[in-house]
Structures are given as C-alpha cells and as structure tokens.
Assembly symmetry: C2
Homo-oligomer: 441 residues x 2
C-alpha cells in the first residue's frame, strides 16, 4: 500500500485545473475556427528518425526516446511540425491549397521542470501551407493576436515582435559572408548577448576573415537599434534585393493594419529564432506586463516540407504553449474555465419521493438540462448545501408536501426566490425557461 | 529525403477525421456534464509501478514501458483507473463526496493492431466515488446509456448487459469453494467458452475437490441460462445473503427504470469481466446491430482505492473506447463531426479592393463570425468554388462595382439568392443576421 507520485514535470488535472485547461483549448479553437483554420492531429508517439533528422539539437537532446516491444526506435513528440509536414506531404496532391490547419496537442521534452516549463505541455500549432505570399504571414500573425485576445489578454498586455531572417541574410551577406553560410552566422547572432565580444569575433572570423571587425561593429549597431523603426531600416536598404524586401515589410504591415491587429505588432530585428528552418519573417509574442516572457513564436519555413517530405510547399506557422499563457492569466486574475454550470440540483424529500424524483431527473436531462441529485437519502439542509457548492442555477424540490400537491418547488439559487409549479408534462420546459431567465421577486 | 511513416497502430487525424474524433469527444462530454459529472485528467506518462502492482496481466504485458533520461522506469498509460485512484486518494479528505468524475484521454497498449483496436486509442472514463449504494451504480449505468445515445445510437442498436460478481461469489461459494479463492474460480468461469470441459474440470478441482462434477454442472447450467431472467434467479436465491442481493438487483432495476434507461438494459450473468478488482455489479455495452461487439464496460470496484491509495472509497465506473463506437457509427452511416461550418467566405475583386476587404474580414470576425478569404489575387470563379468547398454559409463579395457603390453583395450559398447591402458600420450585424436566417427569393 504505497502512495504513488506522478513523474516530475508532469501535471495532474483535478476538475478545477482541467476546466482551466479546457477553457484555454476552447479559446484557441474558437479563434482558429473563426479564421477558417481546420483542426488536425497526429500520433503522440512517432518514429525517432522523424526528429533525429530535422529537429534542432536542443530538442533532440530532450527526447523521451525508447525502443518499443517490436524493436522500433520511437520518441514521444517534442514538437508538432515534423508530423504536420509528413501528413501534408503524404497527401500534397489532393489537398486544396492553401491549407489553414491548426492542432492542440501534448508535447514532451525532458528538461528541468521550472515555472512555465514542464516535461509535458500542451501546444497550439497553427500553420498556413501552400501560399508563399505575405498574405499568409499576415493571416497567421493575425491569428496569433486573436488567439491571445480570445484567451482574455488585452492591448498593452502583450505584443508580437516581428523580425525577418531574409533581411538578416541580406544584411549579413552584404557584410561579406558566403551566402550558404548565413544560417551559421545567424546562430552566432542568436547567442550575441550570451557571448563576450571576443568570443563573438572569434566565431565571426571563420565567415568574415579580415572583415570581421567591421562585421562585428555593424551587427552590434544593428542589434542595438533593431527595436527601432527608423535608422535601421534606412541602413538596411543598400541594394535592390533589400529594397524589395522592405516592400514586403510594408505590405505585411498594411495587411496587419487592415485586419485590425496592427496595434499589437512591433518591429524587432533582434529576434532571429534558433531553429534553422525559418526562411523569412519570424515573430514572437511577448507579455508586456509582469516578467517579459515569450508566449508564442513562429515564422515562415518555405523549405522544410521539401526536406522532410519531398514536396514543394511554402509554409508559415507558430506554436503557443499552454503554461506561460496560463501563468499570465492567473497573475492577471483572469483564469479561464470551461466548467459548465449545473442547471438543476434536485432536492429529494425521502425514499418515498425518490422514484418520482428520478423520473424528473430523466425528463430534465432529456430536455438538455444538466441535473444532479443525491444518490442516497440525505437531509434537506445538506442537499441545499450541495446545490450551492455545485453552483447549481436552480434547486428543484420534491418533498412529501410537494408530492402530495402534485407540485415541485423551484428555488433560484441566486435570487433565493421560490415558486411552486405543477408537476405536469410541461414541467421540463418550464424549468428550462426558468434556468434561462431566473426568478425574481 | 525519405517519406516517413507513422507507427503501426497509431492514427493520423486529417481534418475530417479530427472533426469526427472531436464530435465523439463532444458527445461524451455533453452526456457527462448533463449528469453533473466533472472532468479531470492525469499524465499520459506514469511511473511503471503504478501499473505493475494493480493492472491485469494482459495489460501489463502490453505496456509501452521504458527508462527515462533520469533512470526512472516509466510507462505510457494503458488505462485511467490507477491514475484516478491516485488523484482521489491524495485529496480524499478534502474532496466533497460522492465524486462524479469523467475523463477523455488517450491510452496506449502494445497489441496486434486490428479493426477496432489500435496501439493508441481514446477512452471515456466515468466514475462515481464515495458512494457504496446502488444509486451510484444506477447513475453510472444511466450515463453509459446516455453517452451512447448522445453519440447518435438508438434503442435496438445497443444494450447494456448487467451481471454481478457478488451474486457469482455467493453462488460459487455455495457450491463449496473457499470464499477467499472465488476470484480465482471466477477467472475459470471467464474462460469457460474457451476451455474444454476436461480442462475446466481440472481447473475447478483445485477449488472444489470431490464436489467438482456437481460444481461443473451447476456452473454450466447457470451460464447456459444466465441471459434469462427466471430460472436462474430462482435458483440463485438459496440463502439470506443471496435474497438480500436479489433485493439490490430489484432496486437497481427500479432506479434504471425511473431514470428512463431501462429499455436499454439486460440481465446477463455470463459477464464476469476479467479484471480482478471488480466487487459487485459489472456491466458491458454491446452493439446489437451488425457484429455484436463490446462498446464499453465497467462495474463496481470497492476495494481498489484502499489497495492503491490507502483510502476507503467505494467506487463504480466504466470505460468506453473510441474505436468500436466510431466504427459502428460509420457502419450506420451516422458519423459524428465537430467541424464548425464557415459563416462567410469573402470574395475579393482585386488588389485594389483588398485593403477594404481585409477590414471587413476583421470586422466580421470581431462580430464572432468565422471568415475565410483568398490570401492572394484570384479569379472570381475560383473564389466561389473555394467558398463552396469550404461549406461557407454566405459569400460576401467586394468587387470594383460594389466598392464604387459603397456596397457589398451577399450571396446565400444554399438558396443562391443575392442581395446588395450598404457597406456601413452596421454591415457586420447585418451579415450576422443573414448567416442565421439565410436569404430567400
């Protein structure tokens, strides 16, 4: 007889927690469907090779991996994108493009459990596949904003910072690096604040040789001003290709404005995102109240489906975990819930009235009302207390007096008003109406 | 560049499949909430010992088990009950009883994939804990019936067969076996149809000695008639204890009748259920159209929480997998879906109208309408075709003519009726109304 514990980094969901989780799922789902995204899902357990070849080094080091009873090397999914790519690639020819797909699923990463980070967490993934134009980026970023708003977050509480791997490519190449090596240079930029100047220069030297000092200074200046809109943009427009890309930026920002989400958007070229597969605009949502933490992130990844599934399918998407968003909502005292309130608690006088009471329970439920009742004989007082604790909208009382009079009593648990109504075939409809309108004195 | 496959026995959910799955989840959730059950969940990955000590031998042999990076022996959950027992035991003192809890979660068992059986499947679990009386059994069985009805199944398409491990205990003990050994005898009864008479007798001999032949004949006769209601019941009433138990049966059946589900119920003592932890009434739902397959099963397990978590908490519950129910619904051509239909597809004349069109998209969505639109310039014909394919309720058209006139055209995609309405601040509300009511000539 031992009391077992759950594993570290894994959560148990008691009813209240489960209602909060489901409330978040509902918010994500509502926002996605409102924008015409459709839901998909994929297995939680996948062949290990799916992640070995394409996931980032950090994710690969955190895999829950093992050999199954059939000798297959398998892993619990740490991210959704590889499975998505497989699904889409397998039916690329028959799926109507662009695809606007979302999923809500659990991911698993063996990392140190801490606030806002567990070994299992839920992730909302939304992607548009098959459309290379800026219109898809705008629609995707709009969903990111709308999903956070649907969770209950408001203007001034979060922002979406947009950056651009393509602009970085052009910029870093112009400083003298080989174009094919830019992803490696971007990895250096991604660690800029963590490295000392000497370390960064040493790393850059491989790519810039005797132009390293200049490259270092330019990158540093670029990063220092990358949250601004003026200077950096001016300095970025050095050639036709860059000018053209600045045009894409204008188009993106205009569309975000038209879609009504511009006030949540900020340019921020400091964001380069670690994952090597991003190819264009990248973006991250940050909370701007309390501790500034990332709530979601994504970007354009036009080459990944070719690499993973052999189909040419441009794509843009993002992922949002449940833990930081939930933490923020709790800090703001705006927790979500998806708990359906009980409509009726049926208070039963005694065993003599029970058969008739159970019939009412059946009738009310058949009318679509949620109904609970005591499973065994209980004092009136205790039953009313339970009705209260369940948050029941109404108590419907069938005691000996009511039964004798062919009636039931209905009590509005909010206004405390009571009425007696006949127990006839119209009762369920009557109760339904009172659930909606309440009783007032 | 390889095309990866998912693992055998694991399913991918393309949008249509995902909508069907979510439709089933919604049906389960609706039925459970209507009866005042609240949802919980627990980790998908658990310490191996949770199952090693309490799950049946078959389940234990099918575990996806491994060692995590921290050297812990872990397993993907093959069933929900052990996790439920842990959750309840950990907070037994502070939870208001009876608990009416349900969950919808994925389970994993390494078995041979076949029709209606995968290595991963979803399971609806519903349990009432803390109430030993027959009222809880009735409420639980009523939920089983109502959940299947909510899935779209009708009278005559399924039945719930009820049996009783307690009655079997009394019966088998009366034939001369040691009371403490009855679970072992029941395991023999559970395999009755699979064993030859000789094998069964040999197994019985350990428990019945020289009374084996009589025991064999009586059990055989009992099983042959156990689907009937008369003879078996007569023969079962041999002592006070058994008479008392028959009284429980009457009470259970009366309550099921009052709750309005009696017509779905059948006595069937052939059901003993393999799991050793059941202690009272046990029941299984079977489809009665097409191949007779079990859709769900459960029963009373009053001792399990003491064994697992050290708390005295009587319990009754059931589990229902998603695969056989879905197969049946598909065979009946009544598949479920949870796909929200698109309210509006916005048809955009050209790039000149796009900014205004995107503003309408934003406004309509802010009014709660689901809206999709082409992400890049497309011919009218193609846009209307997409609107059709998405199942959009309305097409809202903003072409050059409409823009010039300060209007939009609204087309009911069902009735094909079109109207022109002013593009003013009241438009979103106007469109919302038309989505609800449609346009008729």
């Amino acid at each position: 007889m031992s009391t077992f514990q759950s594993l570290p980094g894994f959560r148990e969901f008691y009813p209240e927690d489960c209602a909060a989780r489901n409330g978040l799922f509902r918010a994500w789902r509502t926002a996605a469907r409102r924008q015409g995204f459709v839901e998909y899902d994929a297995p939680v357990l996948e062949p290990l090779e799916l992640y070995q070849e394409k996931s980032g080094e950090e994710i690969k080091s955190q895999l829950f991996e093992f050999e199954d009873k059939g000798g297959r090397k398998v892993a619990l999914r740490p991210e959704m994108t590889p499975s998505l790519a497989r699904l889409v690639a397998a039916k690329a020819g028959s799926l109507r493009k662009p695809l606007k797909w979302f999923s809500i699923g659990e991911m698993y990463r063996y990392e140190k459990p801490q606030k806002g980070r567990g070994r299992s967490f839920y992730q909302f993934n939304a992607d548009i596949l098959g459309e290379p134009g800026v219109g898809a980026d705008a629609e995707c970023i709009a969903l990111l904003v709308e999903a956070l708003k649907e969770c209950g977050l408001r203007e001034g509480e979060f922002e979406v910072r947009i950056s651009d791997r393509k602009l970085w490519f052009l910029f870093l190449a112009a400083l003298g690096a080989d174009k094919t090596k830019i992803p490696e240079v971007l990895a250096i930029v991604d660690k800029w604040d963590k490295d000392t100047s000497d370390v960064a220069k040493k790393k850059l030297e491989i790519y810039y040789g005797n132009k390293t000092e200049n490259a270092f200074q330019k990158i540093n200046a670029f990063l220092r001003n990358a949250g601004d809109t003026g200077e950096v943009w001016e300095s970025a427009v050095q050639d036709e290709e860059t000018k053209f890309r600045i045009g894409d930026w204008s188009e993106l920002e205009k569309k975000l404005e038209d879609l009504g989400v511009k006030s949540f958007i900020k340019r921020d070229l400091r964001i380069v995102r670690g994952l090597a597969y991003y190819t264009g605009f990248v973006f991250e949502a940050y909370q701007t109240v309390g501790t500034a933490r990332a709530l979601a992130g994504g970007g354009r990844y036009d080459d990944l489906l070719m690499k993973l599934g052999g189909v040419d399918m441009p794509a843009v998407g993002f992922g949002m975990g449940d833990m930081t968003v939930s933490d923020l909502l709790n800090e703001l005292k705006r927790p979500l819930t998806d708990e359906g309130k009980l409509a009726v608690y049926l208070v039963i006088g005694g065993e003599k009235e029970r058969p008739e009471a159970l019939k009412l329970v059946g009738q009310f439920r058949a009318a679509g009302l949620s109904v609970d009742y005591p499973l065994k004989e209980e004092r009136f007082g205790k039953q009313f207390k339970t009705a209260e604790q369940c948050g029941a909208r109404l108590a419907v009382i069938l005691g000996p007096d009511e039964a004798a009079a062919g009636q039931v009593k209905i009590k509005d648990m909010l206004s405390r008003v009571e009425v007696a109504v006949p127990n006839n075939p119209g009762l369920a409809a009557n109760v339904r109406e009172i659930v909606e309108k309440g009783l007032s004195a």
